[in-house]
């Protein structure tokens, strides 16, 4: 096992969806998709964003794109036009997620 940042094994893009954010995560290989679909649970996302996301996390799977898509309810300080927080559109939630550390089998990192 090697402890790496998620960004080493995945890409991400995020934006707003109502008063929540949408984070797309793309595994860097089909093998890593299998690994991430087992490891990157809604509980992991909720724990990482516990200070940002005040609602539930929902996960969708897109095996055809080696991708997972997450919806983080109530995570934008009230929503697009009303919020005063810097990142009222969740633009940095994807890059933020790529900071979390994961234990990854070394043969998947080749």
């Amino acid at each position: 096992m090697a402890r790496v940042a998620l960004g080493q094994i995945a890409l991400a893009r995020s934006g707003d969806k109502g008063s929540g954010s949408n984070i797309g995560v793309i595994a860097r290989s089909p093998q890593l998709y299998t690994f991430l679909s087992a490891q990157l649970t809604t509980a992991v996302i909720k724990e990482a964003f516990k200070e940002i996301c005040l609602g539930d996390v929902v996960r969708y799977e897109l095996p055809n794109l080696n991708a997972l898509n997450f919806l983080l309810a109530n995570s934008l300080g009230g929503g697009g036009t009303e919020a005063m927080i810097t990142d009222a559109q969740g633009k940095v939630h994807g890059p933020a997620l790529l900071h979390i550390k994961m234990d990854v089998p070394e043969h998947l990192l080749m």
Partner: protein, 458 residues
């Protein structure tokens, strides 16, 4: 028939939002082949801003920079037979049409047909529609509309591709809509060019996903991309062009000799952008299934997509309403260390105490304080710094009384001489309260909406 099967239609996105770089369209018409330019202008807040402009001036309320762009590109568009589709009409399509015609006349170009698609603006019909049974409950929260109904400032239906198709059939070279949904701007010319039936939902979904990929402009050609260091020449990033085939498959690409990167990764990143449930991507034209997408690299800066499946759309249109919801003000100051965090808290306490001394009360819940520079954006994910040497104080409040917020803003600069040391960066001047535009997403039965087409020649 053979010709139809081999036919390719090239559709580009030239502006991904109101305020996007003007270079997109100016370069797209020069740098390579394209059949249609599409322009996406209308975010939720945009309609409300345009509504306010229209209330001040009956001839405004649309995307004026689009009209200016037409003046700069119409000559070459006519030469190259490039058609233009834009949801630039805002809340005043007739004024937009008039301005476009005037601009074209000034260029001396003739024989241009300009079409508008009306019927998305239901602001004047709200009372009648509510009486006839539309509840307009908030589709996200389920809340009833009554508490905000007197404060609504705009109400627009996300219409689909059909009206645009009709305008193209009537010979329009330029089609302008109000709040047409973004992907419909791309789907419509494909329906027109390939003769796709509106109930061929796989094709509707294919065109919708094409629109989704390119609707944010350069975000699918290397912009906002995780591996940004691998993206060449970002200053000259190419805007996206899709090469669409009659069977619904397509290639996402960009013009030769432009910057940026079109790879499976850059396109997939955009496919996931603000996606929601991938099996049920709702548009006015269909429900698209993103889990059916097959994607592969098809040469340098070319990504091929096929296999898309779709289903019949729901019986409702989405409606975007905006309403006035009080005021807010946001002020900034730079705080140097040591003790930045303690200084920031002291400054905030001073400001709110002084607002109270002026005789205004701002409730605890309406006060806002944020320290930028202390791992704020990644809070909970990256640890906060124990002693940040500098932070940006972002301090503000909400209120129904703009005077209270003016007083707050006026008490920011005095902090520099009456508070802790090392406070600077008040270069931007005194902040001004702005109206908060509330957003109210809701639904309306499709049978209530009829679009009308008007095509005029210049």
């Amino acid at each position: 028939m053979q010709a139809q099967q081999n036919k390719k239609v090239l559709i580009a996105n030239a502006q991904g939002f109101w305020g996007d770089s003007l270079l997109g369209s100016l370069r797209l018409v020069e740098e390579g082949p394209v059949d249609y330019l599409t322009f996406d202008y209308l975010a939720e807040i945009t309609m409300s801003i345009m509504q306010k402009q229209k209330m001040r001036d009956a001839n405004s309320g649309y995307a004026t920079d689009f009209v200016q762009l037409i003046g700069r590109i119409i000559k070459i568009c006519k030469q190259k037979k490039i058609k233009i589709i834009a949801n630039a009409g805002g809340v005043n399509l007739r004024a937009c049409l008039k301005a476009i015609k005037k601009t074209i006349v000034e260029t001396g170009v003739t024989g241009i047909h300009v079409g508008i698609v009306e019927g998305d603006d239901i602001m004047d019909r709200l009372a009648e529609l509510r009486v006839s049974g539309e509840t307009f409950a908030n589709m996200e929260t389920g809340e009833a509309i009554e508490p905000i109904v007197d404060r609504i400032t705009s109400a627009n239906v996300y219409i689909g591709a059909a009206g645009i198709v009709e305008a193209l059939r009537q010979g329009a070279d330029i089609v302008v809509t109000g709040r047409a949904s973004d992907p419909s701007l791309v789907l419509a010319p494909l329906i027109y060019e390939f003769g796709w039936p509106l109930d061929d939902y796989d094709k509707m979904a294919a065109g919708t996903i094409m629109g989704h990929v390119i609707e944010c402009g350069s975000q699918c050609t290397g912009g906002n991309f995780t591996d940004w260091q691998t993206v060449p020449d970002m200053a000259r990033i190419g805007f996206p062009v899709v090469e669409a085939n009659a069977d619904g498959s397509f290639v996402v690409t960009k013009h030769d000799n432009t910057g940026g990167l079109v790879s499976v990764e850059t396109v997939t990143s955009q496919l996931l952008y603000e996606l929601g449930d991938p099996k049920s991507y709702l548009s006015p034209d269909c429900i698209a299934d993103f889990t059916s997408i097959q994607i592969s690299q098809d040469g340098e800066n070319r990504v091929r997509i096929s296999g898309i499946r779709g289903r019949e759309a729901t019986s409702s249109f989405k409606v975007s309403m905006s309403y006035s919801n009080g005021y807010k003000v946001l002020c900034t100051l730079c705080i140097s260390g040591p003790d930045t965090v303690e200084k920031a808290q002291r400054l905030a306490d001073m400001v709110f105490a002084r607002v109270q001394m002026h005789g205004f009360d701002i409730a605890e819940d309406d006060r806002f304080l944020e320290l930028f520079g202390n791992n704020l954006l990644y809070r909970g994910i990256v640890p906060r710094l124990e002693h940040p040497h500098e932070v940006l104080l972002r301090l503000g409040a909400k209120s129904n009384n703009p005077k209270a917020l003016q007083v707050l803003a006026a008490e920011i600069a005095p902090l520099i001489t009456s508070g802790p040391p090392g406070i600077t960066g008040f270069a931007g001047g005194r902040a001004r309260p702005t109206e908060i535009v509330g957003y109210w997403p809701t639904l309306i039965d499709k049978s209530r909406i009829n679009t009308q087409i008007l095509v005029e020649e210049v």
